[in-house]
């Protein structure tokens, strides 16, 4: 099969909804090539194809030979640049469109996923993890959604790392539109990937299949925050099918947004304790895969690109207090210390602080909070609720 001639046909085939997966692959294998499908008399197409699908295939013939939008690339599972991790998953897409780059096979990649409506806790964790991994040279893969996805990807890019978004729309459609800034940055410093043809809208039915690519491109999946019934858990299921390691960030049992993560831990997922420990374990996973244990071949070039540190048990223990950098900043007044001690990542209003600190008057507390806000020790999350910031 001459791939350069076939590529156009595969692209046309992939534009047909329902054929860019297992079925498309089987069909191609059955006929020997994608071009053969198109040259076959429609009446002779296998019975297992629904009449609607046959119609779509006939229609897709017209799109043969259309040019790709500028900046956009297309690759197929038959080519070398197709991500190796993705190739191995069940139901891998026949072809993918992308803008920018694809994740590098010789570098570890991690999916960071979670709730769209996240809490300040989730926001802080995903930001910290994204930053740490970005800095360490780990590629962050996610869905560019609001909340955890976008925050961790943004953090990875800002810390100088690379990040890749897998969309449920065409790669040229920015969804959600509010992440336009991130979308543009990803084009430069990572990539936008989609199995849907350019121009495809962000339909809700596109998202569950897209999740298999998010985990498929990664070596491990971190779930930061998820409710008990959450789309994130679908990704976890597919990730498990693909044999990926799952890391769940534990939360308080009173936090509904941590229910999903906590129950994942209950079911045997890895506990995410700190970015440092995670990185150690990720490297073990990555190395073992590279050595062929999981049957995935990974070319080894320039291994030193990862600033990989090994931790003694002792250091590991230290890092367990992630973000619980509970030491108060230096040089605070007594009021400031009292307030900071009472604040956490759960939003608290001035009134609630007044109750916790009955010896302070309201103006005193309000004033001190403002001073802490100016100094960057707290963050205002709504009109009058505050959370602590950890540096």
């Amino acid at each position: 099969m001459d791939i350069s001639q076939e590529k156009d046909y595969i692209r046309a085939l992939c534009s047909v909804k329902g054929l860019n997966g297992r079925l498309g692959k089987e069909l191609t294998d059955h006929f020997g090539s994608a071009s053969a499908i198109f040259s076959t008399d429609p009446k002779e197409l296998p019975d297992l194809l629904s009449p609607g699908l046959v119609k779509k295939i006939i229609k897709a013939k017209d799109s043969l030979g259309t040019a790709l939008p500028e900046d956009m690339h297309f690759t197929t599972i038959y080519e070398l640049d197709y991500p190796i991790r993705l190739r191995a998953i069940p139901g891998a897409p026949l072809g993918i469109w992308y803008i920018g780059n694809l994740p590098a096979d010789d570098m570890p990649a991690v999916a960071i996923i979670g709730a769209r409506q996240c809490s300040p806790y989730g926001e802080t964790i995903s930001k910290a993890v994204g930053t740490y991994l970005g800095r360490a040279g780990v590629q962050v893969v996610s869905g560019m959604a609001r909340g955890i996805d976008g925050i961790s990807q943004k953090a990875a890019l800002e810390s100088g790392g690379s990040s890749y978004a897998v969309l449920g729309s065409g790669a040229d459609v920015c969804y959600p539109p509010s992440n336009k800034g991130l979308y543009e940055q990803l084009k430069e410093r990572g990539g936008i990937i989609s199995e849907y043809p350019p121009g495809e809208k962000a339909l809700s039915i596109n998202f569950p299949p897209r999740n298999r690519i998010v985990s498929g491109l990664s070596d491990a999946v971190i779930v930061v925050e998820a409710r008990q019934k959450s789309g994130t858990l679908i990704t976890v299921d597919t990730a498990l099918e693909q044999g990926r390691e799952i890391y769940a960030v534990p939360g308080k049992i009173t936090d509904r947004l941590s229910d999903g993560c906590n129950s994942l831990i209950g079911q045997g997922a890895n506990v995410f304790l700190s970015p440092e420990i995670f990185l150690c374990e990720l490297m073990e996973i990555f190395e073992s895969k590279k050595n062929g244990e999981s049957g995935i071949f990974i070319p080894s070039k320039d291994e030193k690109r990862i600033r990989h540190r090994t931790f003694s048990e002792d250091t590991k223990q230290k890092h367990r207090n992630f973000a619980g950098n509970d030491d108060l900043p230096q040089g605070l007044s007594k009021d400031e210390e009292d307030i900071l001690k009472n604040l956490s990542l759960s939003p608290m209003t001035t009134d609630e602080l007044c109750i916790k600190l009955p010896e302070c008057s309201y103006p005193q507390i309000s004033m001190t909070l403002m001073q802490l806000l100016i100094d960057g020790h707290v963050k205002q999350v709504s009109q009058g609720a505050f959370v602590r910031t950890y540096k």
Partner: protein
Amino acid sequence: MYSKTISGALLGVNALIINVEVDISSGLPMFSMVGCPGSEVKESRERVWSALKNAGYPVPVARITVNLSPADIHKEGTAYDLPIAIGILESSGVIPPGCADRILIIGELGLNGEIKPVRGVLPIVSKAAKSNIKECIVPTENVREGAVIPGITVRGASRLTDVVEFLRSPSGKDLPVTRIDVKEFFEESEYSSVDMPDFSDVSGQESAKRAAVISAAGFHSMLMTGPPGVGKSLIAKRIPTILPPLSLDESLEVTAIYSVAGKLSEDTPLITKRGFQSPHHSITLPALLGGGQHPKPGAISLAHRSVLFLDEFTEFDKRVMESLRQPLEEHRINISRANYSLSYPADFLMICAMNPCPCGYYPDRNKCTCSEPVLKRYLSKISGPILDRIDLCVEMSRVSLNDMSNKAGRISSRKMRSQVMAAREIQKKRYASSAYRFNSEISGSDIDKYCRLDSDEKNFIENLYETLSLSLRSYHRILRVSRTIADLDSSEKILKKHILEAAGFRPNLEYWRNL
């Protein structure tokens, strides 16, 4: 034969003396009315006709012409019934000529000849007193309302026959004169009644209580956000109790508005307490601002010199909300329609309340599942210009049962009011030679004059401006509020702590606009 009686018309909350002229001449029997009468005034013909007949006076079978002068002003309402009837009786010789031309007469007639209450008695009587009219006859139900005006004899009448008897022989049957000593009303109203709500009923909610004091002291508008049932209305209802008592002049202003709106009851001829208007969010534009076919003051004018509480602020119609912008600046509302143009006073303290998100529990993500776009859409219902006019924003949170029973540290309305009044006194002195009354009114160009800062404080607020990425408007807002906080602290200088506290009340634009 020609006769003339005096009555009054309402123009906004002001009144105008109207001469009611009646002429009876020979000709085909008819009853015509000229002088720009509105529909209720035209109907007056039928009421007067029947009332005269049923009261036992012969209706002249002749050509009757009634003119309401000045004739180019549109007349409305039913107050002309009584003067027209008296005019007809005078023209037909039942009443001696000239005996009613120095008396202002107002009242609606029933078909049986009884006299019914009308609205706007207070401003009309007040205008009569100013126009050197010494005596007036008003419906008995309205007599106490008119009697608060000094320098004029106010008589109440309940039947047409009583008025006629009185005018025929002033020495004979007398109409009772009512006199009211206004001072008495003020004494008894000194916030003594038990049924008034009091801030001592409120436990916790320190931020809202503090904001209420600042709001009352500097007349700053205020917005409370918080989950349902947290006590937003509870706080709002108590704000009138910490405003300084109404002065006599203010009281007359407010009473005039109530009189025009027809909202004065017989036993409260004078409004002596700060009111509390809380219109439902389904309120229409004319109901809020005033106007309508028969113009009446709206909720914002009824809230004149007191509190306008807008609960569920985001649920108000966009146009209704935006319409508040002009009265908030000018303290009055100008209503112009095709057939009239008038102005009602509307100097109110705006207190708003809303939930932080559609479900009511943001930012508590355990309860709130509102997505970002939903939250954005909800908050965008409050436009920038309206948010700009709100000086104090507070977020309230639920008080636990434990704290609820904690009576310590509760502060009474009386104590809060004395703080407010002290700060008001300072403002009065400061603005004695300017057009301002309150700190909230200081315009951007005068802010340096009245909110002068030392260099330390200046550096500090400039730093604040940068780090909190404030707009120029919110910068001014923080200065105005810190001026009031300093006044409450009896500090002539605005100190760093005042600025910091004021900054805590700024609308957090990260939440309001960007998220």
